[in-house]
Symmetry: C3
Subunit: 364 residues, 3 copies
Amino acid sequence: LPIAFDAIATGETSMYPLPDGMFAPQNQWYVAALSSEVTRQPMERWILNEPVALYRKTDGSAVAMQGRCPHRHFPLGKSNVVGDNIECGYHGLQFRPDGSGDSSPAQKTVPASCRVKVFPLVERWKWLWIWPGNPALADPSLIPDHDEFGLLNGSFVLCGDIAYNEVPARYMLIHDNLFDLTHLNVLHRNSIGGGNLAETKEQRNLTENRLTSHRHFRDLAPPPFMGPVLGYNGLCDRDMKITFCFPGLHYFFDTYSKASGEPGGGEHLGAIMGFHCVTPATHHTSHYFAALLRDFARDDAALGQHIASGLAPTLQEDIFATGEIEKTASRLSRLPAEILLNSDTTCGLGRRMFAQAIGKEMAV
Amino acid sequence: LPIAFDAIATGETSMYPLPDGMFAPQNQWYVAALSSEVTRQPMERWILNEPVALYRKTDGSAVAMQGRCPHRHFPLGKSNVVGDNIECGYHGLQFRPDGSGDSSPAQKTVPASCRVKVFPLVERWKWLWIWPGNPALADPSLIPDHDEFGLLNGSFVLCGDIAYNEVPARYMLIHDNLFDLTHLNVLHRNSIGGGNLAETKEQRNLTENRLTSHRHFRDLAPPPFMGPVLGYNGLCDRDMKITFCFPGLHYFFDTYSKASGEPGGGEHLGAIMGFHCVTPATHHTSHYFAALLRDFARDDAALGQHIASGLAPTLQEDIFATGEIEKTASRLSRLPAEILLNSDTTCGLGRRMFAQAIGKEMAV
Amino acid sequence: LPIAFDAIATGETSMYPLPDGMFAPQNQWYVAALSSEVTRQPMERWILNEPVALYRKTDGSAVAMQGRCPHRHFPLGKSNVVGDNIECGYHGLQFRPDGSGDSSPAQKTVPASCRVKVFPLVERWKWLWIWPGNPALADPSLIPDHDEFGLLNGSFVLCGDIAYNEVPARYMLIHDNLFDLTHLNVLHRNSIGGGNLAETKEQRNLTENRLTSHRHFRDLAPPPFMGPVLGYNGLCDRDMKITFCFPGLHYFFDTYSKASGEPGGGEHLGAIMGFHCVTPATHHTSHYFAALLRDFARDDAALGQHIASGLAPTLQEDIFATGEIEKTASRLSRLPAEILLNSDTTCGLGRRMFAQAIGKEMAV
């Protein structure tokens, strides 16, 4: 039965929907950037409310360094790369990829205390994963397994490019959006809605760092966008499974087959796979990376581009919704407790994963 | 004698010129919108720092509903109307015009706790009046009587359209502006100034919810804008009476007649009537509705348009002045106590109406 | 040896790099405006987080008056001048140049309490100097002596106009920039860098209100921009001396001569003189006036314009750097203590001048 969500929504807006004083777990892997974004020219990206400088060394490997020079706080992400070092664009202090200070033409004498934090960074598939917390705890085996979700075996191919958006909303609002797919039939009613999500049994599975939501629909008309893409207008079965890899990646499989009562019933029509990577930027903004893949017409790049551009507005609808909620939460001094629906169970579990992990870090 | 206005200006800027901690009286009628603004497509309007959704039912009657879905805080004013219900644009919760939740295609099961506040709303003349506070106290007979100020008897006709502006200033600064008409000769010197306002005896009348200021000028040259409009360049008498209907409406009569020493002395030249409706939006912004009417050349729509467009800059001057004061009040950590002039007596009385009403609500 | 700069950088961002609660010394002379900016039309300028109205009387002398009318806080800097008085643009209160209220057409009766603060203001060379603090302490002999830095004897002439910028950074970040010239070789590497600043002996001289930094370089290639300007491509000696006149003016001499090993060794090639005047505007913005002069080709206005426009990007680089640091300091709840380099000694002394002066004013 629905209950007021008091344990989570405490009436303070600061980091709604998390309990007061909580922001984000630090000892975790997050997507910092697309591989293609990081070059020899350093870039600045705020991650968990700290500036980070990202660049590549001469051997092509990527570095994530504290983005604030410890001397005068100038942004290293708006500075220069010299060899494998980053050189502060203000007074010329140089830092090696391990964070230690290096003598430079402008600053020959560098004190031992002059060093910056370097973040563990791992490049996988097309993404760079960063560990904002204690480097000693950074275990690359904790990065979501790209084999697990089939990125490396070629059965799915990308539709167009991976989208990057800086979203004007706190990161938890994006997770809320992805934890509760009943929004598909309303916010995205004209594109990928279909099937009565709220009334269809939702199977959940929660492990330490995975939360899965699974629904199966029978005898549906294909969603407005998908019919033409699949080249099929009969009734279909739709299998919708989304897995959250705590704390920053959701991947889903949206699989269509001919309904059993149709000619060729049970025949696989095609599946869309998607990734949503969410990384806290500041307290009120987020990095949002989204990719779509398909397992059909894999050589048809034009179709891939059609899917990517056709579903781009869907992502913008999510960004609109979370941005609007951010505006309200920021403007009101007090957000009342929420109403909880049956369909919020997954969301409640997901929020609890964050609250527990942050709570553990705060208790240390 | 002028005294420092310490009782009102407490040195805190938060809600200058009100005492600390006061914002706005809630158990009152305010203009929420022009009738013409509210349609079947819902609109969002912040009122007393809360989002409100306004829309019309199939029978044309208007509804003012809490503008924030109680489930995930998505703006209902940026959602959809379905029949007489509003359907949240995020997860599809529907709310009936009485605020109760309704089952919907997207959300068949709706908990009883899922309801939104509905605001008493009354449509009068061309305006929608909202009661942001306790609905049980909302007595429509408290709405300013439109017969009282002649809106319904046809003796005055509108000049052009009613203007709506969202003003970047707290609402009390707009009331301050209207309580003290000595600004006409300075801020509006090139349009409607005329007569020595500060030196002319001001008759005041204060009742529980009305405050009237009345001045009569003899043997004036018509104000720069009015001479040509009235087609008269001789000396005139001017009668200026402005009535404040607590807490949100001011109406004035600005009446011109030939001066007694002129040929045809005493003959009525014409009167301009005006309405200014002020509604608190957020703590630092306001809704400002303004209308002008005339009792002469009532069939001359072109003249009406000429008056409306000719006096539009006057309203912008008021918006400029209040916006500038808002900027200063917001930027300074402490506003010094004000100097009080003789001409501020009306303003002092008007401020006190607010402080007393808010104080009563806070005491409950 | 470098030490953590704990005494200054306390971990609070509010007014980094000053100790908590400190903003700016008030009993000091600051440049309020260029002489050419102040006319019969009043202008508004925020100085030390207070609005100031600047205008000229009929005799041409300039007045700096509290920029906020004491009646309703309307900006006097956006009002009107009537004779020698300023007339508030809202209700017409007039103030004489001594700050006392004057009767006016709109307000004949003015209470004695109706007066505004008037700031001591002195016009020197092309600048207006304001004293924001206690007028009784305003001694014009404390204004930096324009003879001392050669502005009045004609040996230097202006290159183009004096630049004015409102900088989106707290004023101390601009002083930090000027106290530590090692940034020339990095931030300005393509224009006026040259000589190993960090490794070259820096002679400092600190008196009560002067702080001088002096470096002499031998056998340098001229900086990229200066070679062509001086018409010389051989090795040169460079003498760089910058003097800070507490609390708002820096002047430098950047003098070039032929290196002793070159033909004509020791011959004076030319000197650039510069002024940087920094005045706190709000807590997060500053007024920045910058002038360049030359002692060579004094009749060549085109060369002067070439120098001015050629070095304009250099000033924008400083504005960029300080603006970036302001963004970081404003966004982070806590700025870690800084690393201190050998080359920061001058900066440390300069910061201490401010902390001591502000501390003295706070102790009164």
